[in-house]
Symmetry: C2
């Protein structure tokens, strides 16, 4: 295990991939992997990329990778698909832009399925992020493929959240509904070559000024990009790095990471308890408790207390 | 507390109402109430009434109460509304048919809200059922007001599940989707005075014959009723009592109740654990664990294990 972690640290993509598989599959060695990674994490800045379907998320992610690489950053990408049961590299095959980076040794790209995984996205993605962090990525982009609640969940994993919008989609209101205006640190109106980009930016500006923000001291910029050509993308990178500096200087980085780590520990503890209970379904102890309740010798609360104590 | 339980046992409606409020509000004395009820429960046969909106559930429930009372049964009714935050007797005011029974001392009627209750329907309803059981009801009808997943949840609380349908609603297919065909013990096509009742019964007969049933030895009858006039309702009572006898004779009653009690104990234990975790949010111990993880001295899994052990 120490060898594998060292190989990942040395930049061997197969070692990184193997470690992510181990944490994602919740292999028996998961705890060992997690412990081995501990001293190596904390250097990566986690950037969540979120936005409604159709705004150009994967194209923007790819363009961000290009711009970050040009500045010499070592970059990780975690593409989370909450609707798919498949993980690995294959899923990215249809995402043509990502193939531009396939042969770049300074980029790790990983897709992750969360469907059917115990505890869902919130339980598996943080572990994969720790692997990419320990492997020496200084920026890790997390992007959701697909839709729904995971949008906000991804922001919960990130240090900096980039919210993507596109002109003429009524996105201002959609985003407000999804609760992502409060959590965006950098806003990007993509497809800026289309009509309505400037008015989308104005609309967004006025809505954001009215929202209660997580980090009140930071004024989130609203940038225009055309991800397909790369126009405006270096400015997004600048703002991400400016936000990183702001977080570090203000002490907000530590506060965010503490809150995130607390949530992660709680989620893992609850998952552990649930799985211990699940193992009890055929358990003689639970049967005995149920018999006592049916026999009138105990009651459901006393039996539940006994069960909790027996964990 | 012993006094209150004795008063409920003696048939005082206010004592029954008070006990249900105590269990529903998760009052500090909840465990005491639950323990005091233990030796008194098990006599009631729990009948779940389920079906899509518009099939006449509350009218049918009321008609069943009338028919059961005519046979001398002591009857409890628990009307669960998963969408309402309000509980008590007042909610039943708009359910005119139920007022027929308001002055009948052999009937306890209780509405129960589950929205916002920790653990939802599955955590609160079983406790209220135990109160009605301990109070000496020999039949308790559980009915959901409203729609959705709770339909199936209610069946999980019951010894006998009555599935209501109505002609011309395409209900056969709807019911199949909701997964209630497998769990119905008695099927009732209500509004039998309308066109299409006989064909709905035929359709239902053929669908049911193809489903894998929970209790394969019991052939669920399909009855026709007009709940507004009471036509056919005594036959539904006969089939409920026949099913009760079948369950007792076959040993299936004990098997169902054991499975139900196991689920109930597990659900309560999980709720207890979740609430203990919730109390930790501002807890210094969790903060200390998060600091250790951020500092690289521990990892999330080790911290989660420590948290579980500290319960």
């Amino acid at each position: 295990m120490a060898d594998l972690v060292q190989q990942a640290r040395d930049g061997q993509p197969r070692a990184v991939a193997r470690l992510i598989s181990l944490v994602e599959d919740r292999s028996p060695s998961l705890r060992e992997v997690s412990a081995a990674l501990s001293p190596l994490v904390g250097g990566a800045h986690i950037v969540g990329i979120t936005g409604s379907p159709g705004v150009g998320k994967s194209t923007s992610t790819s363009a961000l990778v290009t711009a970050l690489r040009q500045q010499g950053h070592r970059v990780g990408v975690l593409a989370v698909d909450p609707t798919s049961p498949f993980s690995g590299g294959a899923l990215l095959g249809d995402r043509v832009r990502m193939q531009d980076h396939a042969l770049d040794e300074g980029v790790y790209i990983r897709s992750m399925a969360s469907r059917g995984h115990l505890g869902g996205l919130s339980a598996t993605a943080p572990q994969a992020l720790r692997v990419l962090d320990a492997a020496g990525c200084d920026i890790v982009l997390v992007e959701t493929v697909g839709v729904g609640q995971s949008e906000v969940e991804v922001a919960g994993l990130a240090d900096t959240t980039v919210v993507l919008l596109a002109p003429g989609m009524g996105d201002g209101i959609q985003a407000a509904k999804a609760g992502i205006l409060e959590i965006g640190d950098v806003f990007v109106v993509n497809k800026a070559d289309r009509d309505g980009a400037a008015s989308t930016r104005r609309e967004l500006r006025s809505v954001i000024s009215m929202t209660d923000r997580v980090d009140g001291a930071w004024k989130p910029p609203i940038l225009l990009t055309t991800a397909t050509t790369g126009d405006g993308v270096p400015e997004v990178v600048d703002e991400i790095l400016a936000h990183r500096a702001h977080l570090a200087d203000s002490g907000e980085l530590r506060r965010r990471r503490l809150a995130r780590t607390r949530r992660e520990i709680e989620a893992l503890a609850l998952t552990e308890v649930r799985s211990r209970f699940a193992h009890l379904s055929g358990d003689a102890r639970l049967d005995a408790l149920a018999e006592q309740v049916l026999g009138g010798e105990s009651d459901p609360f006393a039996a539940a207390d006994t069960l909790v104590e027996s964990l």
